[in-house]
């Protein structure tokens, strides 16, 4: 089979995929290690915890995924987002992560903090429309600012941060002022206002 040797981009947005389809992507790599995606777009599907876990495992095993986008694919308030993000900061290839409009963010605060504090290569991060309580938002904002203020400039590649419809006005203000006063800040695109 020649296909899997060159296939790098897979887009299956809005296709009603479930856990079984996510498992198929993981099995595709397990059966054929040459199947290494660079870009995976699975937005607006219906993954559960098992599907999120399979996608996480697929990304970590492939080690080649630079773009991972699954906006609006986790519709239940369970540990789906937590499973998806667990250990994802160890993927050194990941540069673009879009997890907007997903549910279950409250259970994934620790994993989101890990993304902020430990990911070295993440360039674009979209956290729009995540249902987070103000204290959780504040914790994430502070972890990001702490990371940017203490690390060397080379240790954070985050340049584009999209966080629409998720932050309360005080947290928006804190993030904006913190980024402006942080010397190591590389964020050049910051979208916090409502997208509606």
């Amino acid at each position: 089979m020649q296909v899997t040797k060159s296939l790098e981009v897979l887009k299956v947005n809005n296709c009603g995929l479930g856990d079984q389809s996510a498992q198929m992507i993981l099995e595709a790599h397990q059966k054929n290690p040459q199947f290494r995606l660079r870009r995976l777009e699975v937005g607006n599907n219906k993954f559960g915890e098992a599907g999120a876990k399979a996608l996480n495992q697929a990304c970590r095993l492939m080690g080649s995924v630079t773009h991972l986008a699954l906006p609006g694919s986790l519709e239940t308030e369970d540990n789906g987002l937590k499973h998806l993000l667990t250990g994802l900061h160890e993927c050194s290839s990941l540069r673009h992560l879009d997890i907007s409009s997903n549910k279950g963010a409250t259970n994934a605060i620790a994993e989101l903090t890990d993304i902020f504090t430990h990911s070295l290569s993440l360039y674009h991060l979209n956290l729009s429309s995540l249902s987070l309580s103000p204290p959780n938002q504040q914790a994430l904002v502070q972890s990001l600012l702490a990371k940017l203020s203490t690390s060397f400039n080379l240790n954070s590649a985050l340049t584009e941060l999209i966080w629409q419809d998720s932050l309360s006005p005080p947290n928006q203000k804190e993030l904006q002022e913190g980024l402006q006063s942080t010397y190591n800040n590389k964020v050049t695109i910051l979208q916090l206002d409502s997208s509606k």
Partner: protein, 197 residues
Amino acid sequence: MKYLDEVGRLGSATGVRGVIDLYDDDNPYKPMAQKDAEDKHAASASAVTVSTASTAVRGADGVAEVQSELSDCEETGTEYCRYQKSKKPLHTMSSVFAYKECTEESHLEFAPNVQKYLYDDAVEELRENSRGLMVDKLTSLQHHVNTWGLSSNKYFAENLITKMGNLNKLDFSDTVGFQHRSDMPMGIEAVMAVVAN
């Protein structure tokens, strides 16, 4: 005495009778480089046929002439223009836009099943649409899985995708707004099964 009546012109009008020929031996402003002389026929031909082409050729000649002067300067050791190192004519905006090299993409978007063919009719439609296609050259494919049934997608996977040895991008996203079919995930899984085989 020859140039007495041409004070200040240094004999540049010598031999001119009406139209000035750019490549006339008596023209002191003729192109000096050998390459320009070789382009003479191309320049004259394009000047006759298409005006825009002749403009382009003249522009190229102009650049070449500057280059020859620069190369002369380099040979004589006179450095009038130190930054001009390229032998190729530089684009006027080359300092503004960075050139990005990329590979050529051969993209195919399969038509959606607008007529809502079913079963064998759908497979036959797929077969007709794919007849004569050089699928082995494709690098990017968009297929509206949602509009085709499971059997059609299986046929598509087993008979077409298996021949796409250079496929780099696979797009099954629903972009046509069809009502979702219950067997769409199974259709995608059928394709993925072939890919993962």
